[in-house]
C-alpha cells in the first residue's frame, strides 16, 4: 500500500447541509491512469479539488487523502502550496479560460517554475522552452512571447499541460481535459497525455464524463454516482463485464457510430429548407477583414427529413442554423424557408413564417426565462402568434415530451437539465412547425439523459413528421438520428450523403479523419493482453 501515489479514503465533502461527496475511496499507483467517471453532480470534480484543498471556504472536508505518506486533508495552506504544482498539478477543462489572458505563455510558465524552484530568469526561460517542446508546440522559443489568444484551442491545452508538467509532478489531475475541444484536437491531446505517461511515468487522475476518453486512456476506472463509489475496476473488466447496473446503463447510453440500421431515405420533392450558394460574413473588428463564416453552401432538407449537420468549431454550422431559423439574413446566395425566399420576406412576413419554424437550443438552462412557469414558457409561442386555447394545449404538449402535467406550474430552475430540454422541445413544437432547427440540443446533457432526449426526438419526429436540421459536433449522436448527413469544414460542404455511408464509409479525407478521431467507447484490444 505504501508505494501508491495517492490514497483517498472515506472522503466526505459537504456544502452546508448538502453532501457532495460521501465517503469516497480509491488509490492511484505510480504511472497509472485512473479515471473518475460520473454524470454531473456525481462529485468527481469536487473530489479532485478537495484533495488539493482548492474548494471554496463554504465546503467542509473530512476523511483522508494521502500523497505517499503525507496527509493532505486538513493540511495547512503552506504545506498544500508546496504540494500544488510541485507534486500534484492540475489540467482544467477549458484552455480558453484556464490561462491568464494578459500574460505571455512564457511568463505563466516561469511563474509556476519559480513558485517552487530557485531559477534565474534565463534558466526559467530555457526550462519554459523545453517544456513547450515536450508537449509538442512547434517553434517553442517564439511561442513563449505569445499571448494565449494568439494560440489555437489545442495549442492552449498543450500549454496548460506544459504548466502542469513544469515541476515534474508525481500526479497530474486532469479535470475534463478534452471536453472543450474538437474531436480531432481531443485525439491529439489524448495521445499527448498517453505519451507523457509512458515517457515520464507520471500518474494521471482523469476526470471525465466521456466513456470514449476513458477507454482511450485509463488503466482503471472509478465510477461515481451521487457522491458514492459505484464500481472500481480495471478498464477492460469495466467495459466487458460491468458489475453494477448503473455502470451498464452508463455504457449503454453512449451513442455509438454505426450501430443504427441504415434509415429509409426520405423521398420528397417538397423542400422544408433550401440553401443555394449561401454566404454569410461577419464584419471584422478594428480594420481586420470580414470573416466568412459560411462560404457558398448549398443544401436541402426535404419535408419530413432529418438532416444532420456536423462539423468542428468554426465550421459555420450554427450560422447556417440561424439562417434556417430565419434569425439571420444571408450576405449573398439564397435561402428558401418552407418555399418562401428569406431575402424577400419583410419583417412582418418573417414573423408569420416563424410560426412554422421551431428552434431548440443547446443550453436549456439559459434559453428558458427563469421567471416564467413551465406552462408560460410553452404557451409563449402560441400567445405570440395568437393561437386560441393555449391552456388546453399545455397538458397535451407536456405529455408529448413525457413530462407529468404537474410540472406545468413549476419554474425552469426547479427542473433538471433533461427536464428543461424537454420543456424546450415542447416549446419548439407548440405550433406544430414544419421545420425544427435543433442546435446541439443534447451536448449540455449527461449521456443517460442525452439518450432519452434523442429517443424522444426520434419518436416525436416519426409521429409528427416535421423536417429537422440537426446540428451537432458529435458524429455518433447525428448517426443515431439523421436520414442524411452533411459534413462542414471552414464554411464549406465537405461531404454529403445518407448517414450510414458518410459516417461509416466516408469518401472525403476530412470526414475520414473526423470519424477516426472519435474515441471508441471500448478499450483497444491490443492493450488487453498486457493486463
Amino acid at each position: 500500500m505504501t508505494d501508491s501515489v495517492l490514497t483517498v479514503d472515506g472522503l466526505t465533502v459537504d456544502f452546508g447541509p448538502t453532501p457532495a461527496v460521501r465517503g469516497v475511496g480509491f488509490r492511484i499507483d505510480p504511472g497509472e491512469v485512473v479515471a473518475l467517471v460520473g454524470e454531473s453532480g456525481s462529485g468527481k470534480s469536487v473530489t479532485a479539488r478537495a484533495v488539493l484543498g482548492l474548494l471554496p471556504g463554504t465546503a467542509t472536508v473530512r476523511g483522508s487523502a494521502r500523497l505517499g505518506e503525507r496527509e493532505l486533508i486538513g493540511a495547512p495552506e503552506p504545506t498544500l502550496r508546496q504540494v500544488r504544482g510541485r507534486e500534484v498539478s492540475m489540467v482544467f477543462q477549458d484552455p480558453a479560460t484556464a490561462l491568464n489572458p494578459v500574460f505571455t505563455i512564457g511568463r505563466q510558465l516561469r511563474t509556476t517554475l519559480r513558485a517552487h524552484r530557485r531559477l534565474t530568469r534565463a534558466q526559467a526561460d530555457a526550462e519554459a522552452v523545453r517544456l513547450l517542446d515536450l508537449v509538442g508546440i512547434p517553434d517553442p522559443a517564439a511561442r513563449t512571447r505569445h499571448y494565449p489568444h494568439q494560440l489555437s484551442g489545442g495549442q492552449r491545452q498543450r500549454v496548460v499541460i506544459a504548466i502542469a508538467l513544469a515541476n515534474d509532478p508525481r500526479l497530474i489531475i486532469a479535470d475534463e481535459p478534452t471536453t472543450a475541444l474538437d474531436v480531432t484536437v481531443q485525439a491529439e491531446i489524448l495521445a499527448l497525455l498517453r505519451d507523457l505517461r509512458d515517457r515520464l511515468g507520471t500518474a494521471i487522475l482523469l476526470i471525465t464524463h466521456n466513456m470514449g476518453v476513458v477507454a482511450e486512456l485509463a488503466d482503471r476506472v472509478v465510477v461515481l454516482r451521487d457522491g458514492l463509489v459505484e464500481e472500481d475496476a480495471p478498464v477492460h473488466r469495466l467495459f466487458s463485464a460491468p458489475a453494477r447496473p448503473y455502470t451498464r446503463l452508463l455504457l449503454d447510453s453512449v451513442p455509438r457510430l454505426g450501430h443504427r440500421p441504415p434509415a429509409t431515405p426520405v423521398t420528397t420533392d417538397t423542400d422544408a429548407l433550401r440553401l443555394t450558394d449561401l454566404v454569410v460574413t461577419y464584419p471584422g473588428g478594428r480594420g481586420r477583414p470580414d470573416f466568412r463564416a459560411v462560404d457558398g453552401v448549398t443544401l436541402r432538407v426535404g419535408r419530413g427529413e432529418v438532416v444532420g449537420l456536423v462539423g468542428e468549431s468554426g465550421s459555420g454550422k450554427s450560422t447556417i442554423g440561424r439562417v434556417a431559423a430565419g434569425l439571420l439574413r444571408p450576405t449573398s446566395g439564397s435561402a428558401r424557408l418552407l418555399d418562401e425566399p428569406l431575402e424577400e420576406l419583410s419583417r412582418r412576413d418573417l414573423r408569420a413564417a416563424r410560426a412554422r419554424l421551431g428552434f431548440a437550443f443547446q443550453d436549456p438552462g439559459s434559453s428558458l426565462d427563469p421567471l416564467l412557469t413551465v406552462a408560460e414558457c410553452i404557451a409563449e409561442p402560441l400567445r405570440i402568434h395568437g393561437v386560441d386555447g393555449a391552456t388546453h394545449r399545455i397538458p397535451e404538449l407536456l405529455d408529448a415530451v413525457r413530462l407529468p402535467a404537474t410540472h406545468a406550474t413549476r419554474k425552469p430552475t426547479e427542473l433538471s437539465g433533461g427536464q428543461r430540454q424537454r420543456v424546450g422541445l415542447a416549446r419548439a413544437l407548440a405550433l406544430h412547425p414544419d421545420l425544427l432547427v435543433a442546435d446541439e440540443p443534447t451536448s449540455a446533457l449527461d449521456v443517460s439523459v442525452q439518450a432519452a432526449i434523442l429517443e424522444l426526438l426520434a419518436d416525436l419526429q416519426r409521429d409528427l413528421g416535421f423536417a429537422c436540421l440537426f446540428i451537432s459536433h458529435d458524429l455518433a449522436v447525428v448517426d443515431s438520428l439523421a436520414h442524411r448527413v452533411i459534413v462542414l469544414r471552414a464554411g464549406k460542404v465537405e461531404e454529403e450523403g445518407p448517414h450510414d455511408e458518410v459516417l461509416r464509409n466516408p469518401r472525403a479525407d476530412y470526414t475520414r479523419r473526423l470519424v477516426a478521431a472519435v474515441p471508441a467507447p471500448a478499450p483497444p484490444l491490443t492493450a488487453a493482453s498486457t493486463h
Partner: protein
C-alpha cells in the same frame, strides 16, 4: 493604433461641436441679462442699450454664436465682460492651481482604490468587509459641500491643524510642505467620492476575476493567494478600471467647481462660479468648452491605455 485613433477624431469633433451649441444656448436661456447686470441697478435704459451693443448682445443669436466659434477657432477666447481682460490670461492664471488640485485628488483616489479595492475583494463577511462597505456608502453619498464644510470645521476650526482655505502665500512651488498643508483638505474632499466609486468598482471587478478559471490554474500550480490577487487578477482588472477612471474624471471636473469655492482655491472652478453669478457669459462658455475638451481627450487616452493594457485588444482579437 494610430489608425484607430484617427478614426475616433470625427466623433470627437462632433462631440465638441454639439457641446459648443449646447453651452451657448443654455447660457442664453439662463434668466437675467448680462448688460443690465454690468450696468448696475441705477443705469438708464440708454446706458444698458449701449453696453448691450458694445458686447454684441444685440446681434442675432446665430451671429453671436458664429462670432464666438470663429474666435475659438482662431485661438481668440474673447474678453471677459467684467474683468475686461483677455480670457486666455484668466484661464492661464487659474489653470495651474486647478491642475495641481485635480491631479492631487486623482492620485489620492487611485492610491486609495489600489489599496482598499483588493482588500475589499478578498474580505468576505468579516469586519473589514463591513467597515469598507460603510466607508463606500458614506463617501459616495456625502455631497462635496457637506464633507468640505465638515473638514474645515474639524481640522481648520476646532483643531486648527490646517489652513481653512486659499493658496500658500508664496505660491505653490515656494515651499512644498506648506503647499501640502493647503492642498490636503481640498484634495481629500475632491478625491473622496471618486476614490469610493473606484474602490467599489475595482473590488467588484476583482471578485469577478477571482472566479475565473485561470485563478484556479494558478492556485493549483502552487502560486500563493496573495500573488494570485496582486499578480494575476489585478492586472486583468486594470483595463476596465481604467475606463471607469476615465469616466470619473468628469466627476472630478464638476467637483472642482464646488471644492474651489468652498476652500477659496483660486482655480478655474472658482472662475466658473464667479462667471455664472455675474453673468460673465464669455468666461463661462470658454471654461465649459475647456472641460468638455479635457473630457474628450481623457476618453481617448483611456482607450489607448485600455488597448495597451490588454493584449487581446493590442494584438487583435481571438481567432
Amino acid at each position: 493604433m494610430t489608425r484607430y485613433l484617427l478614426r475616433r477624431v470625427p466623433s470627437a469633433v462632433a462631440v465638441l461641436w454639439l457641446a459648443s451649441v449646447l453651452v451657448f444656448l443654455v447660457l442664453r436661456a439662463v434668466p437675467g441679462d448680462a448688460a443690465s447686470a454690468l450696468a448696475g441697478p441705477d443705469a438708464t435704459p440708454d446706458v444698458v442699450a449701449a453696453i448691450r451693443h458694445d458686447l454684441g448682445l444685440d446681434l442675432p443669436v446665430a451671429e453671436q454664436y458664429a462670432r464666438w466659434v470663429g474666435g475659438l477657432l482662431s485661438a481668440d477666447l474673447g474678453r471677459s465682460y467684467l474683468v475686461g481682460g483677455d480670457i486666455a490670461d484668466l484661464v492661464a492664471d487659474g489653470l495651474a492651481n486647478t491642475l495641481t488640485l485635480t491631479l492631487a485628488a486623482l492620485l489620492l483616489a487611485v492610491l486609495v482604490a489600489l489599496v482598499l479595492g483588493p482588500l475589499w475583494a478578498v474580505s468576505r463577511g468579516g469586519w473589514l468587509d463591513r467597515a469598507l462597505t460603510a466607508f463606500h456608502t458614506a463617501a459616495v453619498a456625502l455631497p462635496t459641500f457637506a464633507t468640505g464644510v465638515l473638514l474645515i470645521l474639524v481640522f481648520g476650526v476646532v483643531f486648527r491643524l490646517l489652513p481653512t482655505g486659499g493658496v500658500p502665500p508664496g505660491g505653490l512651488l515656494d515651499r512644498v510642505d506648506i503647499t501640502a498643508q493647503y492642498l490636503l483638505m481640498p484634495a481629500v474632499c475632491l478625491a473622496l467620492p471618486v476614490s469610493a466609486v473606484l474602490t467599489g468598482f475595482l473590488a467588484e471587478t476583482l471578485r469577478a476575476e477571482l472566479r475565473q478559471d485561470y485563478v484556479l490554474t494558478a492556485l493549483a500550480a502552487g502560486v500563493s493567494r496573495r500573488s494570485v490577487v496582486f499578480g494575476h487578477t489585478l492586472r486583468n482588472a486594470l483595463p476596465v478600471t481604467m475606463t471607469a477612471l476615465g469616466l470619473q474624471t468628469g466627476a472630478l471636473l464638476g467637483g472642482a467647481v464646488l471644492v474651489e469655492s468652498i476652500f477659496a482655491w483660486p482655480g478655474l472652478g472658482l472662475l466658473v462660479e464667479q462667471g455664472i453669478t455675474r453673468r460673465d457669459y464669455p468666461v463661462v462658455q470658454v471654461l465649459l468648452m475647456l472641460s468638455v475638451a479635457v473630457f474628450v481627450v481623457i476618453q481617448l487616452l483611456t482607450d489607448v491605455a485600455h488597448a495597451w493594457l490588454d493584449p487581446r485588444v493590442r494584438l487583435g482579437g481571438a481567432r
